[in-house]
Symmetry: C2
Subunit: 305 residues, 2 copies
């Protein structure tokens, strides 16, 4: 029986590429594994898959009775609805430790670094398995995406080292140019619905019993979204109601200006204000230097609940 | 400011040795760390410390405001009372994933293998740090203890390989003879109170909201305990009341006969009976082949709650 490997709901490039790269590694070391995904492919991931001639993993949202590896998350809120009926063989991640628990011993490769694919690169090295060119290229892109081309405070030496080694394997010298192309693909908003924009990289968190949603839209220039902000707020209100959220935050992250416009609807906005030491104006604030949801947003928000 | 490294409450040899061996490694790679312990040293651990001329880590039970690494556990029930006020930098473990969560990214080295010290051996290799002779000897003993000299079903190739490499480093050829000496030291029960016996290797688990305690006493010959069983039950009754347990189990594990005598007091003993497919007689049953609490007891017990 095969084992499934997948990332979080609403997958980003790290989740999709991580499922593919980890499944390849596991198959090479004799564990039959299939990469899957819990949700739709983002424009950025589409760009990466196309660039390296790969197809998206199969969509699969139910895993009862299956054996699984999780990539890029350890929170129940980002897991399939029936994860408790699955056997979790392992977790590869680079986030805070979430509320997923298991009944049996497992394999966890979790590191406080920029990207799950950097951890997977380490696993390839550990198992002495060669990385195919196309997979190396995708892993490189996933790391460049998660670290915002090394600008994010989450970026570590391990990430830059992995990118350099992967660039050599896939034979792409000017990986920063490729990354800019990728971020431009990611920034495409024309024709996208407000819901699509709000949920492109959206995660729900259980913060000590309170449900908080935080989405992030990384753009090379967020000013193109200015006229659409009322529309984004209207949809955030719907998302808040549909999902029973106490607080919903959308971060419009400008990777060139290196900061984020925070949009927020909350049952108690003072919690958000004291988390970041800001005063909201029309439910908004500019967070200078904030590029990382994981390192610069969640750790400040969580203690408020 | 230093960081503390410690194992679970009521520490076994893996917890004590793991704190020492991980602290040494971390200090070598430039992270100032201090090994500590949450509880008393067992006779087995005393034997190991004495054999290699080491002293026990300092006793410390409160960690609010401190940075910590956890060794050999990820369950809140086995953590210091104020763990939520500490910053967990990492977890090194070989058990099922427990209910500890963090607010910030961390380092987890968790493997489905026989011993945390085997994982730590892997970390030394990863960081290319040489293991001092005395620490290598203690790590070897911890692995031989946790794997019951390779007899436990939890034992993997990684564990036997680590023992062989550590034996070479510490220069002890006949490590099985040393392990038998260690188990004989561990089997010393003369003069020990019932509470001491019940809690030598005792862990409390939160099983879907129900509190269950499982202790294990590994002996080279459990028949020496026969006359003390009524006394053990009387103390189990007290422990059950003191700690608000639904179920308390003590396993008297005979490492030569390769099985365990299960002693049990429960608000619903049928759960224990169906977990193991047994019929209790006078609250007891012989579990043939059962040596591992982690692999042969907890995974069967947990789904009953």
């Amino acid at each position: 029986m095969a084992t499934y490997i997948f990332g979080h709901t609403n997958p980003d490039s790290d989740s999709i590429v991580g499922a593919i790269s980890l499944a390849y590694l596991k198959n090479q070391i004799g564990e039959e594994c299939i990469a899957t995904r819990q949700g739709e492919i983002s424009p950025e991931t589409e760009f990466i898959l196309e660039k390296f001639g790969m197809t998206a993993p199969e969509l699969k949202t139910s895993y009862a009775g299956e054996k699984v590896y999780l990539v890029d998350f350890s929170d129940l809120a980002q897991a399939p609805h029936d994860i408790k009926e699955a056997t979790i063989l392992g977790i590869v991640d680079h986030h805070k430790l979430g509320d997923i628990t298991t009944d049996t011993p497992l394999e966890c490769w979790i590191r406080p670094i920029g990207c799950s694919n950097t951890v997977i690169k380490e696993m390839y090295d550990y198992h002495k398995v060669a990385i195919p060119k196309d997979i190396a290229g995708m892993m490189m892109c996933a790391i460049l995406s998660d670290t915002v081309i090394f600008k994010s405070p989450t970026c570590t030496k391990a990430d830059t080292k992995a990118v350099k080694e992967l660039a050599e394997i896939c034979g792409i010298e000017d990986y920063k140019a490729l990354a800019m192309e990728m971020f431009i693909a990611k920034s495409a908003v024309e024709g996208a619905s407000a819901r699509n924009l709000n949920t492109r990289d959206y995660k729900a968190f259980d913060m000590n019993g309170t449900r908080v949603g935080v989405g992030q839209l990384e753009m090379v220039d967020i000013s193109v979204l200015e006229s659409r902000i009322p529309e984004l707020f209207a949809d955030m209100q719907l998302m808040k109601e549909e999902d029973g959220l106490h607080t919903i935050i959308i971060l419009l992250t400008d990777i060139m200006k290196e900061g984020s416009q925070l949009l927020c609807l909350s049952d108690d906005a003072s919690k958000v204000e004291s988390a970041f030491g800001i005063k909201l104006q029309e439910n908004q604030a500019w967070l200078d230097g904030v590029l990382s949801r994981k390192k610069q947003v969640i750790p400040f928000l969580q203690p408020q609940f």
